[in-house]
C-alpha cells in the first residue's frame, strides 16, 4: 500500500509499470477512450475559450459581438451547455473559426 502513498496517480503509474505488454495495450485503449470522452465533453468549450483569449476578448465582449448571452458562452466554455449549430457558428465567425468535424485523434475531415 505504501508504494503509492495514497496517491491515485501513483496507483495508476504502478499499474502501468507492472503491466504485461498485452495488459498495457488494454490500458492504452482505456486511456485513449477516456481522452475521447473528455474531448467530446470539454474540447469544444476549451477551444472556444482559447480562441477568445487569443483575441483578448472577455466573455462579455464576445456576447456583445455575437448576441449570444454571456452566461451561455460561459456554460459552453465549461462544457455544460448544449449549444445549437447556429450559436456555435456565430461564436466561431466572430473569432475567425469555423465549426467542423475531426477524427477522434484530431485530424480534420476533408470536405
Amino acid at each position: 500500500m505504501s508504494e503509492h502513498n495514497g496517491s491515485f496517480a501513483d496507483y495508476v503509474a504502478g499499474k502501468e509499470m507492472s503491466a504485461t505488454q498485452e495488459r498495457r495495450a488494454q490500458m492504452d485503449v482505456a486511456r485513449t477512450h477516456a481522452e475521447v470522452l473528455y474531448t467530446e465533453a470539454f474540447g469544444l468549450g476549451r477551444q472556444l475559450a482559447a480562441l477568445r483569449n487569443q483575441k483578448h476578448l472577455t466573455q462579455g465582449d464576445l456576447a456583445k459581438a455575437t448576441g449570444v448571452g454571456q452566461s451561455e458562452i460561459s456554460r459552453i466554455e465549461v462544457g455544460k451547455a448544449n449549444p445549437t449549430q447556429e450559436t456555435l457558428r456565430k461564436l466561431g465567425a466572430s473569432l475567425g473559426a469555423v465549426l467542423t468535424f475531426a477524427t477522434e485523434d484530431g485530424r480534420p475531415i476533408p470536405i
Binding site: F8, A9, F42, V78
Partner: protein
C-alpha cells in the same frame, strides 16, 4: 502531471484502510476492462475538471454538498457489438442508459462530498476535513468505494462511511 490538474488521493481511514483501493483491486480481478475504464476516466476527466464535471454528463450536484461523478460509457463503445456485454450491475445502479447503438459498459458511479454540509462524516472523514479546508469525498453509489481529489484537494471515501452503512 500537469500542475493544473486536481490532485487525487485515496482516502485512508483511521485503521489505515483504503477502501477505494481495496475496491479497485477487487474490480480489477473481476472485470479488468471496467477497472481500466474507471481508472482512466478518473485519471483524465476528473483530474482535469474536478467538481467542474457537475452539470456535464460526468457529474451532477446531488445537494447538501454531495456530488456525483459518473462514467456512462466504457469499453463497449470501443468494442464490436459481438464483444459487448450486458450493462453491468454498477451501471444499472447508476441508472445509466444505454447509449445510441451502443450498450453502456457500466462503470461505477462516483460521488464526492464537499464541505460542512456533508452528512454523517466518520471519524476518519472528520479528521481529514480538519486537515483540509476544502475537502471533497468520492464514493460509489452502489457499494461504497471511493477515490479522492483536492483542488485543492478532494478526498474520497465510501458512501457507506458517509451514511453510516448504506
Amino acid at each position: 502531471m500537469n500542475p493544473d490538474h486536481f490532485h487525487r488521493e485515496f482516502y485512508e481511514d483511521d485503521n489505515g484502510t483504503m477502501p477505494v483501493l481495496t475496491w479497485l483491486n477487487r474490480l480489477e480481478s473481476d472485470d479488468m476492462a471496467k477497472h481500466d475504464a474507471i481508472v482512466y476516466a478518473l485519471q483524465v476527466i476528473l483530474a482535469r475538471e474536478g467538481a467542474g464535471v457537475c452539470g456535464t454528463e460526468f457529474g451532477r450536484t446531488l445537494g447538501k454538498g454531495l456530488y456525483e461523478f459518473r462514467l456512462r460509457q466504457g469499453r463497449g463503445r470501443l468494442s464490436p457489438p459481438s464483444e459487448q456485454g450486458d450493462r453491468t450491475s454498477a451501471g444499472q445502479a447508476a441508472g445509466a442508459p444505454a447509449t445510441t447503438g451502443i450498450r453502456a459498459e457500466g462503470a461505477a458511479p462516483w460521488q464526492w462530498l464537499r464541505g460542512e454540509g456533508a452528512p454523517g462524516p466518520t471519524r476518519g472523514a472528520s479528521a481529514v476535513r480538519s486537515q483540509l479546508p476544502d475537502v471533497v469525498a468520492c464514493s460509489t453509489q452502489g457499494g461504497g468505494k471511493a477515490l479522492t481529489c483536492n483542488p485543492q484537494r478532494y478526498v474520497a471515501y465510501p458512501i457507506s462511511l458517509l451514511y453510516g452503512g448504506l
